[in-house]
Symmetry: C3
Subunit: 134 residues, 3 copies
């Protein structure tokens, strides 16, 4: 399992970690299996979305902010209740198959660390799971 | 890893792919492990929900359309910003355990390809991951 | 694969199952891999969020109730259409890496069974997937 660090600079921000995930797969030497990317934080998540137009990430963040606005009468008193909710909606892990040592991402797909309570120093875990039949 | 094709006919549509996922598991010969169903597109996803009343799928699609309406002032200029957001909310993969070569789906569960920007020709990847202890 | 039982007491409720998931990992004896926690129901899910302040879970439930209210003109006639939608938003599985036989949960993370149509007797499946390289 590899642990990578991510530094975020805004409260809500999607950071492209595709190259880092591919690097972990390369270093593992594995040929067939699934990579699990896991975020061990409760106010951030991970998602897969378009890697071309950055407006897509802005739109995802914008919709989440509209649906779950900051400071809208939550019980949790730390001012980041919305961040926790967004984390549960987006999810804390993604599972991506690989074959021939290559991630099966679609042409337009990138892997994004989803910060909802930055700026912070964060960690992302990448576990390469080999298929036992391999 | 198997690649299956899905043809969608509407802009938003849930297509039952349960039988195809079970077929991939059968062909693998695996007995214990987890099947990962992965969608390599950024305006579609995959989800598990009720297989009996098709109204449930219509309700999921209806709520997503209400929460993330098409053409509601997004930055992304291709007219499908909402489709990208819905994909991140629903997710691009599901992981389903299997035991005795049988998927551990609940009685009422089916696996659905979730189209949010159809009609299109789509692909779905099915990776059967055997448990190394098997 | 282990099957655990969960009894819920309210219509919407998050129940901490972290200790049970850790127990399944311990009993497996596995050292490196990924645990998949899977909910075989269509009106419940599983999510990872803060384990300290219970207000966080109340806030997640509160936002989901605001976005997807019960009885808001759905097609599905059983009165739990909202529960099905919430299940698809939260998701039916989580994948958590482990290393040295220890779950890689963050300090503040717990694993929660997410009931959206209780009270009911529910099941949760825990599959420990060893890395074939182990």
């Amino acid at each position: 399992m590899e642990v990578m660090k991510v530094s975020t600079r805004r409260r809500s921000e999607f950071i492209d970690i595709t190259v880092e995930v591919e690097g972990a797969l390369d270093r593992s030497g594995a040929e067939e299996g699934v990579v699990v990317v896991y975020v061990p934080h409760t106010t951030a998540g991970v998602t897969i979305n378009e890697n071309a137009d950055p407006d897509v990430r802005a739109d995802v963040i914008g919709v989440l902010e509209r649906l779950v606005p900051q400071g809208a009468g939550y019980r949790h008193a730390e001012g980041n209740a919305d961040s926790h909710v967004k984390a549960s909606l987006v999810g804390s892990s993604v599972a991506i198959p690989f074959s021939g040592s290559k991630l099966a991402l679609g042409t337009w797909q990138g892997v994004y660390f989803a910060e909802f309570d930055g700026p912070r120093s964060r960690r992302v875990l990448v576990k390469v799971l080999r298929d036992a039949a391999g």
